[in-house]
């Protein structure tokens, strides 16, 4: 039987080199602040790299969705390095392929296309969040 959860952890790649990394982070903020506030939380990815006890506990006790900016998949690999399997793993390019009119540009400040891409990505991830919380997805 699947287990129900109170919250889901969304982890973005911490990319500071490419617009897709910025979209990953913005998507997480959209989830935590607008789409599912209180149900989706995040933590700093380098805390997992450091094996910080609180961060480790957070990703151990709750289902994790990773959102990566590039195929190097830092967010996913950093979670897996702790021996934890992500419940869902995405790359920003997946969302961009579905919304090619929303081309992200900029790194610190995303353009309108990048912000909209993050918003629609977060909207699409809402279903995953709801299913994970309801225990409808085996994590």
């Amino acid at each position: 039987m699947s287990r129900k959860f109170e919250k889901v952890v969304a982890m973005a790649c911490s990319g500071i080199g490419k617009p897709y990394g910025a979209v990953a982070r913005e998507t997480v903020y959209e989830l935590t602040e607008r789409v599912r506030p209180g149900k989706v939380v995040t933590t700093c990815l380098p805390l997992l790299v450091m094996e910080d006890p609180e961060a480790r506990q957070l990703v151990t006790n709750n289902p994790v969705i990773t959102i990566d900016g590039c195929p190097k998949s830092c967010a996913l690999k950093s979670v897996e390095a702790l021996g934890i399997k992500a419940a869902k793993a995405y790359e920003v390019i997946r969302f961009f392929k579905a919304h090619k009119d929303l081309k992200p540009e900029g790194i610190t400040e995303l353009n309108e296309g990048g912000k909209k891409l993050a918003a629609v990505s977060a909207d699409e991830l809402a279903q995953d969040v709801d299913e994970l919380i309801a225990g409808e997805v085996k994590s």
């Binding site: 973005a12 790649c13 911490s14 990319g15 500071i16 080199g17 990394g21 982070r25 913005e26 997480v28 903020y29 995040t42 933590t43 700093c44 990815l45 380098p46 805390l47 997992l48 790299v49 450091m50 910080d52 190097k72 998949s73 830092c74 967010a75 690999k77 950093s78 390095a81 790194i107 610190t108």
Partner: protein, 138 residues
Amino acid sequence: MKPINIQVMKVGIVSCSGEELPEGTISRFACRKVLDDLRQTDTVTICLPLFIAGGQEERDFAKTYPTITVDGCEKRCAQISTERLSAKPKKSLVISEILQRHGIKPPANLRNLTTDENTAVRVVAEELAKAVDEVLEG
């Protein structure tokens, strides 16, 4: 004609990503300002988790470049991870300490920075640029 061997020294910047903390945003923005504007030709960067996710080339980053780490908080993820997974940084900056020294109040936003927070970005970027110069001067 003999080839001229010109070695161009660059400083590696490693920013904490700090998704959970406003100081993390200040760190990323200040690092990008140095990389893109203040010391564009003198600096390179790497995403911190690439030390785990990448290969040997990424792990050698701090061995290849003299490195400055910039951390948002006292946990010093960038400094410790760089030290542990690559090599000891030449300098390590912490945002909260810089802001305190300049009498700037701690930031409150993760995105959509206020005028005061943009001032904090500028101040941190200027300190980082100065640190880059010091590393280059040896």
